[in-house]
């Protein structure tokens, strides 16, 4: 990912809301040093400077904007993106709810008109031969058909930015069979037909597929299922937040997975990461957002 970002030869301006968080500052510092980012740190300047110094980072590398509280920090970050003074918005130590409220504000927020707000992650796992894109582990609890179609579109867009021209997208279920007890399988069948008819473009889609059939060629042979995804998925679309979220967390905990992710449906990239996320993950996110900007 880093290579691709450096190849852009463009500096992106990131506005960070309530920035006095050491992991965030370290990640941003790395991106600034690599030369693909300019950072605008919004928050209590004294706190930001203190955190920088504790990490041995020169605060003069960043533009600082003084605000009193986290709400104002979020609003200011969003305002900078809206006016074009920033290309990317990033959540610092603010709570996700408060931050997203500013992003989603009807008048002053960053929502694209009629867009579905969703989340796409790119996950690197040593056990898989390529980057895997997943959606949605963070925003939509139980996506309906329209939301699933939007999610697929965002994931396809991201995979294509990574050079996967026609990503293979697996619509994940517990089995490859259509069943009355699996409501999502009906949505999946409809989406597959839409892809076949060109109503969803630039992808090879199949589902329902279980995770084995989506990502493991051996399972395809054993089960004898004919599927164009063929155990070689680029994208996994999950039926719910509660299935996607534990999937990526499981990979991070037990399979040395690294995740970068972005909110989609906004006019500018928005980085939302949990405060506990590592510096490395945050750095990946910053790089990803530059790629998508």
């Amino acid at each position: 990912m880093e290579e691709k970002v450096l190849a852009l030869k463009k500096k992106h301006r990131i506005a960070i809301a309530w920035a006095q968080d050491s992991n965030t500052i370290s990640a941003i510092h790395k991106a600034v040093t690599k030369g693909f980012v300019e950072a605008i740190m919004i928050g209590k300047s004294s706190e930001i400077i203190k955190t920088c110094r504790a990490e041995g980072i020169d605060e003069k590398l960043f533009t600082l904007i003084e605000v009193e509280d986290e709400n104002r920090a979020s609003v200011e970050a969003v305002r900078l993106a809206k006016t074009g003074d920033a290309d990317i918005v990033m959540k610092g130590l603010v709570g996700t709810d408060r931050f997203l409220k500013a992003v989603m504000d009807k008048e002053n927020g960053l929502m694209a008109s009629n867009a579905t707000l969703s989340y796409v992650g790119a996950i690197e796992i040593p056990a898989y031969h390529k980057l895997l894109f997943i959606t949605d582990p963070a925003v939509i609890p139980y996506p309906d058909l329209d939301q699933k179609i939007s999610m697929a579109g965002y994931a396809i867009e991201m995979a294509r930015k990574f050079g996967v021209e026609k990503p293979k997208i697996a619509l994940i279920g517990a089995s490859e069979k259509m069943g009355r007890h699996f409501e999502n399988s009906a949505d999946y069948a409809v989406m597959c037909k839409m892809a076949e008819r060109g109503q969803i473009k630039e992808c090879i889609m199949d589902g329902p597929l279980d995770l084995f059939l989506a990502c493991d060629k051996k399972s395809i042979e054993i089960k004898g299922v004919e599927t164009p995804v063929n155990g070689d998925a680029d994208i996994l679309l999950f039926p719910s937040l509660e299935s996607c979220n534990p999937f990526y967390k499981g990979l991070m905990l037990f399979a040395k997975g690294e995740l970068a992710g972005l909110i989609r449906g906004t006019i500018k990239p928005v980085i939302v990461m949990s405060r506990s996320e590592s510096e490395k993950s945050k750095y990946f996110c910053v790089a990803l957002s530059c790629l998508m900007a």
């Binding site: 597959c192 008819r197 109503q199």
Partner: protein
């Protein structure tokens, strides 16, 4: 094998043992005419049940020679239907046909729990058209029986029809699930059903056929039209079976084919123990004859 016209059904019938057809309430001129013609042409062996005098009078008036034809005298029409159905369920007959009686009376007997012809399957109507402007016969379902089938019912209707086509020699019939457009549209339920049926077919949950849909009528029967729209489909332009979204579309299509396109049609009811010939009183004698031919071909 593909049927080019309805007459091709004879080849199937000629290959097997002669089928027994029982005509309930046989005192009906059109039905009798068709049955006797099919008998003379060695397509079936008929058994007539009904008012003996009435049957004989019709035969006299129309010069039908019925020497040697078994007639079971039963003047009460409802009883004649019951007898015909009982005969069929006890395997003394292979095909049931409706004579001078309403369809609902006959179907009530067919669905009788003790001595009817239930199999646990949904009953559905299956029609086979010979149209000059199409390169082979085309089957259409369901244009007369199920009003607004839901997804499960559509699966049952498809299974009935595919089984019948398999019997007629189609190893993998091509099925088009009809819609107003070939695109999926959330506001058109037929297109959603079509997508689901296609996927179930891909996953081998509906077997022995190739399903694609939604297809608009033109894409289903014209390859040129499908190409024009850029549809990649094994079915488009070469459809063997059209699945209708509901009875209103089906019935209008059926009648347009007959009246405007001068199509020949044969039709039977599927899903019971045996094929049922249940043509309406307004159907031509030819249509009744062809339906008997279809029933004989489908009853092996």
């Amino acid at each position: 094998m593909v049927l080019k016209n309805l007459n091709d059904l004879r080849r199937i019938v000629e290959g097997g043992p002669r089928k027994k057809l029982v005509l309930a309430a046989a005192q009906d001129q059109h039905s009798l005419g068709a049955v006797i013609k099919a008998w003379k042409e060695n397509i079936i062996d008929p058994i007539l049940i009904g008012d003996k005098e009435g049957i004989q009078n019709i035969c006299l008036e129309n010069n039908y020679d019925i020497t040697g034809l078994p007639i079971i005298h039963e003047p009460n029409t409802e009883m004649s239907v019951e007898k015909a159905v009982r005969m069929t369920s006890s395997r003394q007959a292979d095909i049931l046909m409706k004579g001078m009686i309403g369809s609902s009376t006959l179907l009530k007997c067919v669905l009788n729990k003790e001595w009817g012809l239930r199999t646990g399957n949904l009953l559905s109507h299956f029609a086979l058209f010979e149209v000059e402007t199409y390169h082979k016969v085309i089957a259409v379902t369901d244009v007369a029986m199920n009003i607004a089938p839901n997804l499960q019912e559509k699966i049952a209707i498809l299974n009935n029809s595919v089984k019948c086509l398999n019997k007629l020699g189609y190893r993998m019939p091509k099925v088009a699930v009809l819609g107003a457009v070939e695109m999926v549209n959330e506001n058109m339920e037929a297109t959603l059903h079509a997508a689901l049926l296609s996927k179930m077919n891909q996953r081998d949950q509906i077997k022995n056929c190739i399903i694609d849909g939604p297809l608009a009528f033109d894409n289903a029967i014209s390859l040129e039209s499908a190409k024009h729209k850029g549809i990649r489909s094994e079915v488009a332009g070469d459809t063997d079976l059209l699945l209708m979204p509901d009875i209103e579309v089906g019935n209008v299509l059926y009648k347009s084919l007959v009246f405007f396109a001068k199509a020949k049609v044969a039709s039977i009811i599927l899903g019971a123990l045996v094929p049922i010939v249940l043509t309406s009183r307004s159907d031509s004698e030819q249509a009744k004859f062809d339906s008997i031919l279809l029933a004989a071909a489908a009853s092996k």
